[in-house]
Every structure is written in C-alpha cells, then in structure tokens.
C-alpha cells in the first residue's frame, strides 16, 4: 500500500523509515517532481515523484502540458466547482486533490463524478482534517467525505485515500486509516482500496513512460506473453 505526503520539512529518510515501520510499500511525494532529494532513503522503499498543479483552469491547462512528462504522478488541486470540473475532464490528470477543501458550498456533484469515472481521474479523500482538526471544522470535513463517497461509489469513479501528512509525526499507518475510515462512515474496504490505488497509478504511469510502451495495447519489441501481464493486477502469490 502507498500513501501520499506533502514534501516534508524534515529529511525524507525519516519519513520513509516511519512509513516502512507502519507497513507502507511506498510513498508518493506530492510536490517536487524529480527534484525530491532521496539521500539516506532505503533503496527497497518506493518513492514516487509527484507534482501538484494549484491554479485556476485558465493557467492550469498549460502547466499540465508542461509538467506531465516531468513527473510520475500529476495532481490538480480542486476546491471550487470550476477547478474540480477542469480536473475531472482532463484525462492527463491522475488525481483530483482536495476536491472539497474550498470555503464554498459542496463543490462536487454527479456530473463531475461521471466525468471522473469516464476520464479515469482519481478523486482524493483526505482524512487529514478528521485526524488533526476538532469541532465544527472536523464535522464539516466528515460530512463532506461521506457525501463525496456516496457520489464516487454511485458513479463508480476511482478514488485515492490519504492522511495529508507533512512529516513523520502526522503519518498514520494503513490499519489506523482504515479504522478511522470505518468509524467516520467511509468503510474499511473503501479506505484500503484508496491506499492501494496510489501504487496502481504509479505502476501504470511508469509502464507508460517506459521505452516499449506505444499506446494502450501496443508495445514495441518481440511478442512475449510475460510482457502483457497487467501491471495493475497485484500478484497475490
């Protein structure tokens, strides 16, 4: 399972050590792209470089085009109806981050959920406010998450789950996140599935970035059935 973290203020190696101890196979660093410093990190631990585009739709389109090739994972920060709509209608986007973070009315609806399912854009569920906020802020966060979950489930849109950690102290393990998800009404399996999804997107994007990939279903080179094993299917053996 993977988790996504903001670029930590401490060294990345201490965050990866904590992540390994709580049971993650890898971490997505949400910003920094290929410039993420990997000094001291365990080479067996997978670190996935990501970039977050935080801009209104007019500016975001150009930035996505420029950054798509630079990074394995591309996230677009939502929060308003316009931003959310732009992100879910853009197939080059991997993850719509913080879709309900804005101060406005609930900025996600069934039209956006359908578009996210059509374009394969993962909708992010950030458990950070549930873990770290209190009072009304947390109540609103829980209410937004359950409302978003209903839409995402109804229209079968893909999703990812994170705790929005910015350091080793705010990192929580997969079982802890699943327990919190179950308690606030998201469901244990929904959270586990969302944590696995980070690894699946990373595997898919790395496969696409490899030399032999031409387009979906087309590869360069001699035919070998082993090459056609679906990287998105986890090997349980």
């Amino acid at each position: 399972m993977y988790e996504a973290v903001h670029p930590p203020s401490e060294s990345l190696s201490s965050v990866t050590a904590s992540a390994t101890s709580v049971g993650y196979d890898g971490l997505v660093v949400r910003d920094g792209g290929a410039d993420v410093p990997l000094d001291g990190c365990d080479s067996d631990f997978d670190i996935v470089p990501g970039l977050t585009v935080d801009a209104d739709p007019d500016a975001a389109s150009g930035r996505i085009a420029a950054r798509r090739r630079e990074t394995t994972l591309l996230l677009v920060r939502g929060g308003t109806p316009d931003r959310n709509r732009f992100a879910v209608e853009e197939p080059r986007v991997d993850v719509l981050a913080a879709p309900t973070a804005g101060p406005n009315r609930f900025p996600f609806d069934h039209v956006l959920a359908r578009a996210a399912a059509r374009n394969g854009v993962r909708v992010e569920f950030d458990l950070g406010p549930v873990l770290r906020e209190t009072g009304g802020t947390r109540v609103r966060a829980v209410s937004s998450l359950t409302r978003l979950r209903d839409l995402v489930k109804t229209y079968d849109a893909p999703h990812v789950v994170t705790a929005g950690a910015g350091g080793s102290l705010s990192l929580r393990g997969p079982r802890a996140l699943a327990a919190v998800g179950e308690t606030v009404g998201l469901g244990h399996d929904f959270v586990v599935e969302g944590l696995r999804e980070w690894g699946r997107i990373a595997a898919r994007n790395r496969d696409r970035a490899s030399e032999n990939w031409v387009m979906p279903g087309v590869r360069r080179g001699r035919y070998d059935p082993a090459d056609w094993a679906d990287p998105l299917v986890e090997d349980d053996s």
Partner: protein, 118 residues
Amino acid sequence: MKSLPKSRRPRWRYLGVGVEIALETSLDRRALQSAVWEAATALLGDPGSAAVDPTVVAVEFSPPHGRGMATVRVRREAVERGRAVLACVSAIDGEPAALRVRGVSGTIQACAERYGDG
C-alpha cells in the same frame, strides 16, 4: 462485594502503542491518558468513548530519543475503534506526537514482552 464469575467479567485487549514525541522530559501517564480521552470523546462522543473505554495502563519513555511504548487497554469488541482513537491523537500536552499501534495482546505481560522496546 463478591467478584463476578470469570465468564461475566468484561473482556479486554491491550494495545502495544509506539509513542513518538519530541520531549526533553519524561512523558507523564496522565498527560497521555487525557490526550487519549480527548481524542476519544471528539471522535466517538461520550457514549462511544465509554464503550471503548481506552485506558493507559503503562508508559515507558526515554526522553533523549523521543520514543517510547505505552500499553492501552480497550474493550475486546472495540479494538478497531480504539485504533481509530489513537490515530486521532496528534498532540500530547500541546507537543506534536504520534501514537502507532504495534500490536494487540490479551494480557499486559504479553503486550509488554511482544511490543515493548526492551
């Protein structure tokens, strides 16, 4: 008062919990207990916290490393809710902290032996 027959007594589970906090002094059991209760009432409400009944039984903490181990007792039926409560503790006495469940045992001794630092 007569003690309850064994089959009627409440059943407990003991969570071995790793504590990470940047503290120069030792970690007080009461401080940890109040942080856990606060997180429990905020997440589950008063009836929910009473059903989980998270109680800090023991704390071992070495200040230079900022790491330690605590044993937290919860009701047997409420281990997962107890896990959620501990995940929601983000500060102890105002200091940023993390509580990570290392494992679950049926007795305090087994918990300390399996998940303790020593």
